[in-house]
């Protein structure tokens, strides 16, 4: 225990330097802005500011990127409550009771409870990462290549199970991602693979151009087809403070929401959105008066808002302790680490303690900043909604172009982005979710490497994967998940959770 305390103290020492406070604040502000703005998500934004982070220290870069991610969870709830438009998919359920409260003139307490719930969840999970991260990493050090292969397979399987829509399509997207990840120089033999002789592909398909095309450009094209491009007027907020009764009613919901959110965050393939949905339906089930839900029940705001923030932070646990991203956003964080020359894996905590503890400390500071940013300054964020999309989207496109260019000062990278914009648009039209592809892209090369090593160690004997107990355990878990999703009633529950 004293060990953890001294480590946390060290983390605060790093996070509280002026530069890192500034970066954390900057990340949180950007996160809040994109959280408020519908139609632009944290994944796109993090991909867009990735090039800017190359000028920062690795800790600074991760602090800022994380700030964007959890900042978006706060911002998304603001618009959900005030204008009935969820800024992020993870705030979709908050609309139900949050907006109902706003219509009854209780927008202030709804916003306050959302922020307090997020802060509560954020603080609990930050502590959990600090306590659980190091022991998990030391377990992971026992893993051999075969175990890594199986844990990645488990991750990919649960990504499929939790993905939205057709299971078969999601499997296909992951496999496609793995395939795209193999393009470029083969690590073991140094041979160029599937590069079509293009210089730009020798180092592999760039993570940034791909994600900007797939998420940034394609998303804008789809948004423009459906939505209008004007600004939106929001109702004014009066009286922020929740009553003692509100706080009492939401305390249980916050605790349950945090627990549900943490579980879905750690689970590979999970994330803030499914966490918020699950927390809401759990709250409805345990409530003594479920009929109040949808009509302005404060628990209906507290639970999903705690859950999405808990999940947003809990997914750092497998990323930091195992080096395995549980979802596309964490895959992006891994991409950022690799760009800074840090190899993701269980050694991070022991070899780069400053990075790990500094990041954790910054999360707590960031959560506190977000409450301050969101409550007294709420008026500013609401004004943002009046910026018409017709000015916003050209700016985003230009930022995608110039951001991709600055990575390597290469216009070829911009071409790659454009190509993936086209592919992404086609995939969206065919209802293929692009997020699993990104996960496959990052895990693909790792999967091949560990698979190769495992087979070399076992002299080509495939049974190595079931002979090692750790590996067997992961494989059985993956199998159980696959069977579970095939069962009709669980399937129905999953579809319901995603119905918006």
């Amino acid at each position: 225990m004293p060990d953890i305390l001294s480590n946390i103290a060290m983390g605060f020492g790093i996070a509280l330097t002026w530069q890192n406070i500034g970066l954390c604040l900057f990340g949180c502000v950007i996160g809040t802005i994109i959280g408020v703005l519908p139609g632009i998500g944290p994944l796109t934004t993090m991909a867009m500011i990735l090039p800017v982070t190359f000028w920062l220290s690795p800790v600074g870069a991760l602090i800022m990127l994380s700030g964007v991610f959890y900042g978006a969870q706060y911002g998304g709830s603001t618009t959900a409550i005030l204008v009935k438009i969820p800024g992020e998919t993870s705030s979709v359920v908050t609309v139900l009771d949050g907006h109902a409260m706003a219509q009854r003139g209780r927008a202030g307490p709804a916003l306050a409870i959302a922020a307090i719930g997020s802060l509560f969840a954020g603080s609990v999970v930050t502590l959990l990462i600090a306590v659980a991260g190091p022991p998990l990493a030391s377990i992971a050090l026992l893993f051999q290549s075969a175990d890594y292969v199986s844990v990645m397979l488990l991750g990919l399987v649960s990504a499929v199970v939790l993905a939205h829509g057709s299971v078969l399509k999601a499997v296909g997207m992951i496999v496609l991602g793995v395939l795209l990840g193999l393009v470029g120089t083969d690590v073991s033999t140094g041979e160029y693979r599937m590069t079509m002789g293009l210089d730009v592909l020798f180092d592999g398909i760039g993570f940034v151009p791909l994600s900007m095309g797939l998420f940034g450009l394609a998303e804008i094209a789809v948004n423009l087809e459906s939505a209008g491009a004007g600004g939106i007027e929001a109702k004014p907020v009066t009286g922020l403070w929740p009553t003692l009764g509100d706080l009492k009613a939401s305390l249980g919901a916050m605790v349950r929401g945090t627990a549900v959110g943490t579980a879905f965050g750690i689970l590979p393939g999970g994330g803030p959105t499914i966490a918020a949905f699950s927390a809401y339906s759990l709250e409805k089930k345990v409530s003594r008066s479920p009929q109040r839900f949808g009509k302005g029940a404060i628990e209906g705001v507290a639970a999903p808002e705690s859950a999405n923030n808990a999940a947003a932070q809990a997914c750092f646990i497998p990323m930091l302790s195992l080096g395995i991203p549980p979802n596309a956003l964490m895959a992006l964080m891994i991409g950022a680490m690799m760009v800074h020359g840090i190899t993701p894996g269980p050694e991070i905590i022991s070899k780069q303690p400053a990075l790990f503890w500094g990041l954790i400390a910054s999360m707590w500071i960031g959560n506190l900043m977000l409450v301050i940013l969101n409550l007294p300054l709420i008026g500013i964020w609401v004004k943002l909604l009046q910026v018409p999309y017709s000015y916003l989207f050209p700016s985003i496109i230009i930022l995608c172009c110039i951001g991709t260019f600055t990575l390597n000062s290469s216009t070829a990278d911009v071409m790659v982005m454009t190509v993936f914009g086209v592919i992404g648009y086609a995939l969206r039209k065919l209802e293929c979710e692009p997020a699993p592809l990104l996960l496959g892209l990052v895990l693909g090369p790792m999967l091949e490497e560990y698979f190769r090593r495992a087979m070399v160690l076992s002299d080509g004997d495939w049974s190595i994967f079931v002979r090692r107990p750790i590996s067997l355990g992961f494989l059985l878990l993956a199998l159980a998940l696959l069977l579970a999703v095939a069962l009709p009633n669980i399937r129905r529950g999953r579809d319901e959770a995603f119905r918006e």
């Binding site: 496999v175 693979r193 450009l217 094209a221 087809e225 911009v414 071409m415 086209v422 293929c432």
Partner: protein, 148 residues
């Protein structure tokens, strides 16, 4: 409705096409054996898997026929054009002119264009991007055409 135009069928075909493309592009790669894998071993497994999934998906389209929603060509076309213009024009024309052209093309993705706000948007884009990337981050990008 025609099965050949359903979402699942087209998605299946797309997966198969990517799988075949991968096999073809990697046709010269050595496969090797399980205990000494060549550079082609794992990619071939992945391609085969992708083709199998694609075939299965295309087959399910017989049961679940759902047509692709009609998209509007305009937003998609202008967004793509805007990025293409940026990639192709940046070297010959320099940053400032490229930004103006790309911004105008991007803005054309959506209707209801008024000239003064559009010019203002271009101005903001030039000032902001030159300010951030050239002046603050000191990235070497030529601002004007090389001939000038």
């Amino acid at each position: 409705m025609n099965v050949l135009l359903s979402k699942d069928f087209l998605a299946g075909i797309l997966y198969i096409a990517f799988g075949l493309l991968g096999l073809w592009l990697g046709r010269a790669l050595e496969t090797g054996s399980a205990d000494a894998m060549g550079p082609g071993y794992f990619p071939r497994i992945v391609c085969a898997l992708l083709i199998a999934i694609g075939a299965l998906l295309a087959a399910t389209a017989l049961v679940r026929r759902e047509a692709v929603e009609r998209g509007r060509l305009r937003p998609f076309a202008f967004i793509t054009l805007s990025c293409l213009a940026f990639a192709l024009l940046l070297r010959p024309l320099g940053l400032i002119l490229t930004l103006v052209i790309s911004t105008v093309l991007a803005r054309l993705a959506e209707g209801n264009i008024r000239i003064v706000p559009l010019l203002l948007l271009c101005l903001v884009m030039v000032v902001a991007n030159v300010g951030i990337f050239v002046l603050a981050l000191r990235i070497v990008i030529p601002l004007w055409p090389a001939a000038l």
